[in-house]
């Protein structure tokens, strides 16, 4: 129960921070609520973006992957994310500049201005479909953690309310500014705890070198690529994971919302540059905690390996510090919920509702966004309540679905010939193919995660994600070339290809 006390304390403190951050200097306009009045400095931007992306998977899942499969996990959430520095810059430079000039407050805004209302309506729906399983997986994970940490005193069903209640409080009270500050505080907290755990685990065997020597002696396969008869960390497997995680990250709502919220160009650039570098350092440590975990705990198989993070903390740190380390993973899950839920609420209010009621005022939009946050949290609790839904499997779809929106985004900013038909067709085909592979994996016994992320022989050794991505791109290009730009696309060129943006 000590851990629960610490976590509740952190969450309550975060509610205060969220509210204080929003109240401080805020005029409570829609701009303040949705994009923090475009006033966030780079320190807050960096940690807020980092925390909103790194979920409990970055702690438990990745250390479990290190434990089971070794150093190849470096290509899942570390070195493969460094390209985001330039990918985000090239794809979101115009999001940052046009967003500020046009006062955009949602992910659908650039698509709406460039391609018209069809895409403006599709984007929030696609993002919502992709992110609900992802959010539910976090809510479920937190409930499971609470049940385990309280040794069954707090049942799973009661634990389901914990994260949604606090997230709703942060976001309803504080909006983007509050969310960014909460993410920053919690992001720093879990980063520090990863450092503490890493050094504690390595110190157990006399330092990093001796620890790795022991593991290498007993498990040399963890230091190899293509172990297990060439299947574990084969090149197609590595490329599939690396590309899926990186390209999916480009298109999540978080980079849009953070680009709109940046106070300065320097802040925007520092944020996108620092993200990959911090991931390399922090996530490498969690992978190595998992690898070193082989010296502490033996015999963890399959998903059981995901427990290595908590077990390593329990064996190498005093009880109170181990509790803090596990609380770090807990806050990582919370901040991901904050980032994704807020992005969706902004999309629904500013894109979907604005389409239905164009004359809606700022206060009405803010009110609606608050209701949406509460609604999204309720939906997550209801879905998580049904224990047989394979949410963790379904959550993997988020990256694949988000990634297919990269083509219309690229077309909006860089290809004058892009049409709304191409954008809509490419997005729908890409989403449809991801869903098809998901169902195929679930019903066919392969598993959704394997079908979408592991290389499949019948797909020329590519995974379902990459095939959907390539087909979505081909459809976008072909349909755009086969159709003519309408008045909306033609008019938008004046703004999207303005000489000042060159």
């Amino acid at each position: 129960m000590f851990e629960i006390g610490i976590i509740t304390g952190i969450c309550l403190l975060s509610v205060l921070i969220s509210y204080a951050a929003f109240r401080r200097g805020a005029s409570r306009s829609a701009d303040d609520y949705f994009v923090a009045g475009s006033g966030l400095g780079y320190f807050v931007l960096i940690f807020s973006l980092l925390a909103s992306f790194l979920s409990a998977f970055a702690m438990f899942g990745i250390s479990g992957m290190g434990y089971r499969w070794g150093f190849g996990a470096l290509f899942v959430l570390t070195v493969n994310l460094v390209p985001l520095g330039f990918l985000w810059y090239f794809l979101h430079r115009k999001t940052f500049l046009l967003g500020r000039a046009r006062r955009w407050m949602s992910m659908g805004a650039p698509f709406g201005e460039r391609y018209g209302n069809g895409m403006r309506a599709i984007i929030p729906i696609v993002v919502l479909v992709a992110s609900i399983p992802y959010l539910v997986a976090q809510v479920q994970g937190i409930a499971i953690m609470i049940e385990a940490m309280s040794e069954g005193l707090i049942p799973y069903e009661a634990g389901l309310f914990f994260a949604p209640t606090f997230v709703a409080l942060y976001l309803i009270l504080g909006g983007m500014k509050g969310a960014a500050w909460v993410n920053t505080v919690q992001g720093i907290f879990f980063t520090v705890m990863v450092f503490v755990l890493f050094f504690a685990v390595m110190a157990r065997n006399g330092g990093f070198g001796p620890t790795m020597d022991i593991v290498h002696e007993k498990h040399p396969e963890l230091f190899q690529l293509g172990a297990g008869g060439g299947k574990i960390w084969s090149y197609p497997m590595i490329f599939g994971f690396a590309a899926a995680m990186c390209l999916g990250s480009v298109c999540f709502p978080q980079p849009y919302m953070h680009a709109y919220s940046s106070r300065s160009a320097k802040g925007f650039k520092v944020m996108i540059l620092a993200f990959g570098a911090i991931c390399v350092v922090v996530i490498s440590m969690t992978i190595m905690v998992g690898i070193a975990g082989r010296t502490l705990v033996t015999g963890l198989e399959g998903v059981e390996a995901d427990k290595i993070y908590g077990l390593a903390a329990a064996q190498t740190l005093p009880d109170w510090a181990a509790a803090l380390a596990v609380a770090g993973a807990f806050t990582a899950a919370m901040t991901t919920i904050i980032g994704v839920a807020f992005g969706n609420a902004s999309n629904i209010a500013n894109d979907l509702y604005k389409l239905v009621k164009p004359q809606a005022g700022p206060k009405e939009l803010v009110r609606l966004a608050r209701v949406c946050i509460a609604g999204i949290m309720v939906v997550c609790i209801l879905i998580a309540w049904i224990p047989n839904i394979p949410v963790a499997e379904l959550a993997v779809i988020a990256f694949g679905i988000m990634a297919v929106t990269v083509f219309p985004l690229w077309g909006a900013y860089f290809w004058k010939r892009a049409t709304r038909f191409g954008a809509i067709a490419g997005t729908l085909v890409g989403v449809g193919m991801n869903l098809m592979f998901l169902v195929w994996g679930l019903l066919g016994g392969t598993g959704a995660k394997k079908m979408l992320l592991a290389p499949q022989e019948f797909l020329l050794d590519l995974n379902g994600f990459l095939v959907s991505f390539i087909v979505a791109g081909a459809v976008f290009l072909t349909v755009s070339l086969a159709t003519r730009p309408g008045p909306t696309e033609t008019k938008s060129l004046r703004l999207f290809f303005h000489p000042s943006l060159d």
Binding site: F86, H216, Y235, I238, A265, S492, H498
Partner: protein, 96 residues
Amino acid sequence: MNPKKGTHSKRAFVVAFIVLTSLCWCPWAYGTVTGRILSIPTWAVLAYVFAAALFLLEWVFLFFTGLAVTDEDLSGIISELDAAGTDNVTAAKEAE
């Protein structure tokens, strides 16, 4: 900066970014290197080296080349886009 020179530099950066990205997304060629450096696999060290090189290149591109947007340019760009946006809205209303 000379616009032509700027375009060439930008292209050179993009090519370098793509090459390094492909090395960060898959250990083509260097994945077969065996042995260990500093207790971790040599191929992992090489992956870190490529990631570090990409990070440094991104840093140089974003902050030291004049090719990326800066705060000095920001207000000018925003006012021009503001004006273009207003024209766009007016044109759309006229078209209606």
